[in-house]
Symmetry: C2
Subunit: 214 residues, 2 copies
Amino acid sequence: MKENTSSVNSPILIKRDLSQTSKTELLQECVSECIPLSEQEVESIKELVIVRHFKKGTLILREGQISTNCYSILSGCVRQYYLKNGEEKTTFFYTEGQTIFALRGSNQNLPAKHYLACVEDTTLTLLTQENEREMFRRFPRFQTLSRIALEEELGNYQQMLADYIIYSPEERYLNLMNFRPDLLDRVPHYHLATYLGVKPESLSRIRKRIMIKR
Amino acid sequence: MKENTSSVNSPILIKRDLSQTSKTELLQECVSECIPLSEQEVESIKELVIVRHFKKGTLILREGQISTNCYSILSGCVRQYYLKNGEEKTTFFYTEGQTIFALRGSNQNLPAKHYLACVEDTTLTLLTQENEREMFRRFPRFQTLSRIALEEELGNYQQMLADYIIYSPEERYLNLMNFRPDLLDRVPHYHLATYLGVKPESLSRIRKRIMIKR
């Protein structure tokens, strides 16, 4: 994140010494292809990847800020939303194991159009662009891992966009029940409604219809 | 694409010797970061990247097939669509300069859920996964270029998904008028309608409303 970020709430705790649990989770995060890491690679991850804890409600990013940080959720939930005519429109929920990729390339100096807010107390890893570059410099094979992770994430987004176009709000809700059932209990009803593209009262009707069918 | 692809229409022409014009376009495609290419790199691109021409209406990919090919459009237009209850739902239009990334990583052996059809006579470059690997082996810096291109494309898809959630069909149409005005003349009305998430008659009403306002 660039210098002028004073309006973002500070993390309540910054830990560079990872606990045993979060270290394991972090390594699982970073090595999605299950490639064993050398001791030097583990040490570099501990040095360059920062673990941060945020309280529920904290804004990690606000509209207008420039961020090239990449986050991975270790625990908790981060909501991405846009402000449209004063109304919050939720566009994604990031939970355990998911990565919030930063805008890079020709887009990396553009101010964010969206917000990132913690729906729960959240612990995440933070990798700055500088530290990522340093990681690639030290271990070129991490660039391959990063490319594979990006290819997977791009595939996910292509499918999510297609699904959003193809499915009705009720079908989108059924998809969530199948593929991200935890979200239904973790996030407020009105945020879920805008994410599905409906008013809260329509979501209530969808839920009732589905309850009756079961 | 795997062996069992007999149901896909064959390209009408396969050229490995690129014409001067398409060579220039191809290089522009491949080197989005404007990095000068060495003679060896240019020769490898000519060897490993295939240019193909397809007639309007050709299906490049059908639901159920497995493809790890990556395509870049030199000229023409390719429509991505899904069949839902017998109805074609358009989810993307790829035009000049855009790349159709293949599913990779853990998704790469999954059969496609979608179709790719040429809306116009189309010329594209085709890079198989094997040739891509060979390219990375010969020139590791191409891996960096690929990662940057993926980061940009991921950013584009994140924004498109967010836009789809945030905007109404009329706003989506206005966005197309601003950012992809060529599409409005190039693709049939009913395909455009499903892409915007409305029935063809609703798209006609949207068009009339916008005409009146102008």
